[in-house]
Every structure is written in structure tokens, then in C-alpha cells.
């Protein structure tokens, strides 16, 4: 993995996520998130996980973000709606807390001894490799994720459907 590419993509990812948080305008924030998803997909490509990279774009940038934007457009927030009461204490506290966490993590990460991972074998990250793992070794995980998605669907239907008696 080329370190320069890694740092480029990583910087874009982090920068865009931070921008997303700082944006006042939700649509612009969502756009930043999309860009960060794309550079995340770039990171996956660098890790030779092409399938996951495409999935990332397809699912997150494609479907989920479109729904996000859809909802934001539905709300159609005005400028006045976006103004929240400034609470300096909370902002200050959040800044301190996140700063402390970041410092902590940076310090921790610098102390990690280098971990050597095995070189990826031929066929790593291809659909075949993922598929055969998914249906043999991780078959339980696969099935349970099926249940998880089913729960999601049931939940959406349950919460979204109209009341019969009104």
C-alpha cells in the first residue's frame, strides 16, 4: 500500500468528516460526508478490498446518502430553523472532551509497536474469496445479519404504517 495515497485519502476522509460536523447547512454537510465516503472507498481499494470499496460507494454514497439528502430536502429547513441557541459552556466542554480524547488516542497510537500483517494472498478481496468465506466459515454471521436486516425492516414497517383505529 502506497503510504502517500493512504495519507492523502485519510486526510480527505478526516477533513471532510470534520467539515461535515462544522457545516451549518445540512445539505453541504451531507455532501462532505459523501466525499468522505468516497475517499474511504479509496482506502479500501488501497487495501485491495475492491469489492468492499464498491459496496461502500453503492450502499453509502449511493443509497444511504441519497435518502439522507432526501429527508433533508423534505424538511426544507430555513435559515432561521438552523440557528440554535449558542451554548458556550457545552461547546467548551465538547471541545475539551474531544481534544482530550484525540490527544489520548494520538499518544496511544504513537506507542504501538509496528504490527506486521501477512501479505494478502492471491485472490484476496475478490468476490469469490469473500463469498466462500461468507458461506463456510462465517455462515452464522451471514445468517444473523440476515436476521438483523429483517428486524430493521419489521421495525420500519411497524413504526411507519398508519394506525388502523383512529
Amino acid at each position: 500500500m502506497n503510504p502517500y495515497f493512504f495519507y492523502a485519502f485519510a486526510t480527505i476522509t478526516v477533513l471532510m468528516v470534520v467539515l461535515m460536523i462544522l457545516q451549518k447547512n445540512p445539505i453541504t454537510g451531507a455532501m462532505c460526508l459523501i466525499v468522505s465516503f468516497f475517499s474511504l472507498a479509496g482506502l479500501y481499494v488501497l487495501l485491495e478490498a475492491h469489492f468492499i470499496a464498491v459496496l461502500q460507494i453503492l450502499v453509502y454514497a449511493g443509497a444511504i446518502m441519497v435518502l439522507f439528502i432526501f429527508v433533508i430536502m423534505f424538511l426544507n429547513l430555513k435559515k432561521e430553523d438552523l440557528k440554535t441557541g449558542r451554548r458556550p459552556f457545552y461547546q467548551f466542554a465538547a471541545l475539551i472532551a474531544s481534544g482530550a480524547l484525540v490527544t489520548f488516542l494520538v499518544v496511544q497510537y504513537t506507542k504501538i509497536p509496528p504490527v506486521s500483517f501477512p501479505e494478502s494472498v492471491a485472490g484476496f478481496g475478490t468476490v469469490e474469496a469473500i463469498g466462500s468465506l461468507m458461506f463456510s466459515k462465517y455462515v452464522i454471521a451471514f445468517e444473523v445479519i440476515g436476521l438483523l436486516l429483517l428486524v430493521g425492516i419489521i421495525g420500519a414497517v411497524l413504526l411507519g404504517k398508519k394506525e388502523n383505529h383512529d
Binding site: 504501538i112 509497536p113 436476521l147 411497524l158 394506525e163
Partner: protein, 489 residues
């Protein structure tokens, strides 16, 4: 190919209890969809039958001399079976409570039942897997079902608020948990708990796993609602429909502790002094904050929310009590298990009664609503008082036996200060636990109809069961403590 089929067969036979649950949940959904008329009773019957069959199969497996060899992703050992028994018990009692509750509120939805069972499936995967990936998926399945259940009272504003609150905070907690899991993977290149146990050095851990442990602990603390991660609890507990609150208060905590025991005792992470200090801080804070804030509540459900916070602290204290001079004594998690069983029975009993309280077609659990209940429904009020006594830890109830076993273990292992704090806080808790009973019996109602009018059959069944077991286990705890000792890590 051969090995694959063998592997699948092993999984099918070994995890039979889980597959029964899955089949039952799907059957509930199908029956609801295909049944000609909108009748929820068959669905609930199927749900309860499923859970009972699961319980039987878990007992059957328990009695097997040699359990199937541990799979990578699904470990069926006595620990798992014990916790399966607990969560399935929670499920049965919750469905019984929910049937009563929904009958009173005229709001019977069949999906409720399958969501409860799906949530139980998630819990089972959460604590029964040796692979952190499956643990996480189980956690998510459990949580997602509960988010929906919390918000299932769609017309109730508080229920909506609770669902959103729980969803956002739960999502953050899951993310933090996942971050910790990813750190483990980054440090050792594996997610299997057994392999992590081999890879972790026994002395002087690296920085990354320490951080990972802290993150995973944070995720679990959110689910347990211990201080300082308890802020969501009172609002969510208040907003959720009462049976769901009972389910959250017991099921989620039981599953989280099942997982916590498996991972932290499994890989000896708790032997790190930093983590122990962290636990001590959390336990002390939880004892104090949980008990003191419970005093000032005006709503029984909010009070029980804080009570569940302090009980979670007690269970955590039970885990901490297993340490003697910084090393974890093997097989001492049985106190935690027994405490969870007792906590389950008394909490669900109390929530079964709370589920019956209805006024003007909505829940009425404010203290003022309880006034005069001791005169209109003396037996029910008496049973509620029994559960409250058990929560305080009156001798003769299961609460006493549970607290006694935790505190005696702590004293044995030299945690005198914490033990004293626990006793003091139990005494403080008597103040708020007895307040509802005092209100029921000694305050005259301000007129109007009593808050409990009819008692559906299912609710009375679950209340009777809880009351009976609370007393029975309070009088002979040894039988179950023995069982827990067999299953203990």
C-alpha cells in the same frame, strides 16, 4: 465440501436452542401475515411456546454429559446455557406482561412478539459467541429490536422521544464498542476471544488493547446504564411502554453481563490495575448517584430506572468482588449470575404490576396515581411491596440472598470499603423503594377510579410466578447458587 457439511451439521445441532428461537420468531411473523383475521392471540401463543421449547432444549443440553465441541462463532457451554435460560425467562415474562398491557390499552400488535424474540436471539448471539464480530452483530440485533419496541407507542409523545433518544445514544455506544473491537483487530489481527486470550501478554499490556478494553467497556456501560453513562435511562424507561421497560431493564443488562463475563474474564483483561480502578470508580459513582437520584423521582418508572442503575452497579460490584489482590479468582462469577436471576424476577414482577396501571387510556405511574391502591387492590399492592422489599434486600426474599452472596464474596476477597458502601446504599434504597408502598397503603386517593381496574389472566400468571420464585429462592438460594457455580467461569 464434506467438512463444510459436517461443520454446518455441528452448528445446527450444537446451536439448536438458538435455531428454535429463530424459527419461532419467523413463524410468529408468518402467522401474523397469513392468518385470515387480525388476531394476535395465536401469535403470542406461538411465541410463548417457542420460548418454552427453547428453555426445555437448553435444559436438555445442560444435562448432556458432553456438549458439542465449541464452534468458532457459537460457543454452547454451560455459561451460554445459563444465560440463555435467563433471557428466555425474561422473554416469557415480558410477553405475558405485554399481553396484559396490550389488552388494557387495546393496542395488540403481533409484531411485538416477534420483535421480543428477535431481541432475545440478538442477546444470545451477544453473549454466546467467541468472535467479537458476532458479538457485535448480536448486540445490534438486540438493540435494534428494542429501539423499535421503545417507540412502538406511536401516538405517545414520550414514547417517540424515548425511542429517538435511545436510538441515538445506543448508536453512539455501538460505534464506540465497534471502535474498541477494531483496535483489538489492529493490535492482534484476530477477533476471536480465545485467540486474543493467547495473544495478550499476561503482564504489562500494550497500549492499544488497553484502549480497546476501555472503549468496549464504554459501549457496555452505555447498555448497562451505569454512571456516568446513565443519562438516557430515566427518560427512556419512562417513555417506553411498561413491559418494554421491564424487558430493557432486565434482558439488556443480563446479556451485557453475559458478554462482559465471557470477554473480560475469558481474556484476563480485568487483571489490569487500571481497568480495576476504572471499575471501582464506576461502581462507587453508580452506587451513589443511582441511589440518591432515585429518591427525588416522582414517577415509579423513573424511580425504577434509577434503581436499575444502582442494581447494575451492584452486579458490576459482584464482578469486582471476584478479585483477590488484583487477580480474578476463577469461578467466582456465580454471584453475578445469581444476582442477575434475582434481579430479573423482582424487576419483572414489579413491571408486571406497573403494566396494569392505566388511567384515561394511558399509563399512569406517577406516585399520586398509586394513592389508595392498597385499599382497592390490597393483594396486588402487597405483592408490589414484596418486590420492593426484595429490591431493598429484605431477608427472606431473593434480593437478600443475591446481595448477601455478592457482599460476602467481596468481604472474603478484601473489598471491605466497597462492601460497606454497598450496605449503606442498600439501606438508603429502602427509603425510595418503600415510598410507593407507603403511598399505596397510607394515602387516601383523591377520588376518581383506582389506577388498576382489571387484571388480565396473563399478567396475574407472571406476577404469581415472580412472587413465588422471589420468596422460594429467597428461602433456598443454595440450589440455584450451585447451578450458577457449575456454569461460572
Amino acid at each position: 465440501m464434506e467438512t463444510n457439511i459436517q461443520n454446518l451439521l455441528n452448528i445446527l445441532v450444537g446451536g439448536i436452542t438458538i435455531w428454535i428461537l429463530c424459527a419461532g420468531a419467523l413463524l410468529c411473523l408468518l402467522i401474523d401475515a397469513l392468518w385470515p383475521r387480525k388476531m394476535s392471540v395465536p401469535v403470542y401463543t406461538i411465541g410463548i411456546l417457542t420460548l418454552i421449547v427453547t428453555l426445555c432444549s437448553a435444559w436438555y443440553q445442560w444435562l448432556q454429559p458432553d456438549l458439542p465441541a465449541a464452534q468458532d462463532l457459537l460457543v454452547i457451554d454451560l455459561h451460554t446455557l445459563f444465560f440463555i435460560t435467563l433471557v428466555v425467562l425474561v422473554g416469557i415474562l415480558t410477553i405475558l406482561n405485554a399481553l396484559g398491557y396490550m389488552q388494557l390499552h387495546n393496542d395488540l400488535t403481533a409484531e411485538f412478539c416477534s420483535l421480543i424474540i428477535f431481541s432475545i436471539i440478538g442477546m444470545v448471539f451477544f453473549f454466546s459467541s467467541d468472535h467479537l464480530l458476532i458479538n457485535f452483530i448480536g448486540l445490534e440485533t438486540m438493540s435494534l429490536s428494542i429501539y423499535v419496541l421503545v417507540g412502538s407507542h406511536k401516538k405517545n409523545f414520550k414514547s417517540n422521544e424515548a425511542a429517538i433518544k435511545y436510538f441515538i445514544i445506543g448508536g453512539v455506544a455501538s460505534a464506540i464498542f465497534l471502535y474498541g473491537v477494531a483496535m483489538f483487530y489492529g493490535a492482534y489481527g484476530t477477533l476471536k476471544i480465545s485467540e486474543l486470550a493467547m495473544a495478550l501478554p499476561t503482564q504489562g499490556l500494550d497500549y492499544l488493547p488497553k484502549t480497546a478494553v476501555a472503549f468496549i467497556l464504554t459501549g457496555i456501560f452505555f447498555k448497562l446504564a451505569v454512571v456516568p453513562f446513565h443519562f438516557w435511562a430515566p427518560d427512556v424507561y419512562e417513555g417506553a411502554p411498561s413491559p418494554v421497560t421491564g424487558f430493557m431493564a432486565t434482558g439488556v443488562k443480563i446479556a451485557s453481563f453475559g458478554f462482559a463475563i465471557r470477554i473480560f474474564i475469558g481474556i484476563n483483561v480485568l487483571d489490569m490495575p487500571q481497568i480495576q480502578n476504572l471499575l471501582v470508580v464506576v461502581v462507587v459513582a453508580t452506587f451513589i448517584v443511582g441511589n440518591l437520584l432515585a429518591i427525588v423521582q416522582d414517577d415509579v418508572k423513573r424511580m425504577l430506572a434509577y434503581s436499575s442503575v444502582s442494581h447494575a452497579g451492584f452486579v458490576l460490584f459482584g464482578m469486582l468482588a471476584g478479585f483477590r489482590e488484583g487477580r480474578y479468582e476463577p469461578f467466582s462469577s456465580h454471584t453475578v449470575m445469581f444476582y442477575l436471576l434475582g434481579y430479573l424476577l423482582m424487576t419483572l414482577g414489579a413491571f408486571a404490576i406497573l403494566s396494569l396501571m392505566i388511567r384515561k387510556r394511558s399509563e399512569a405511574t406517577h406516585y399520586t396515581d398509586l394513592e389508595g391502591l392498597g385499599h382497592s387492590k390490597p393483594l396486588l399492592a402487597g405483592l408490589f411491596t414484596l418486590f420492593m422489599f426484595s429490591m431493598v434486600g429484605m431477608p427472606g426474599t431473593v434480593g437478600f440472598a443475591a446481595k448477601y452472596s455478592v457482599i460476602s464474596l467481596a468481604v472474603q476477597n478484601g473489598h471491605i470499603g466497597l462492601a460497606i458502601l454497598a450496605v449503606v446504599m442498600s439501606i438508603v434504597s429502602a427509603f425510595y423503594y418503600l415510598r410507593p408502598s407507603v403511598t399505596m397503603f397510607f394515602k387516601k386517593g383523591a377520588g376518581g377510579c383506582p389506577v388498576i381496574q382489571e387484571i388480565p389472566f396473563t399478567s396475574s400468571a407472571s406476577i404469581t410466578f415472580c412472587a413465588f420464585t422471589v420468596i422460594y429462592l429467597g428461602l433456598n438460594p443454595d440450589a440455584f447458587i450451585k447451578l450458577a457455580k457449575i456454569a461460572a467461569f
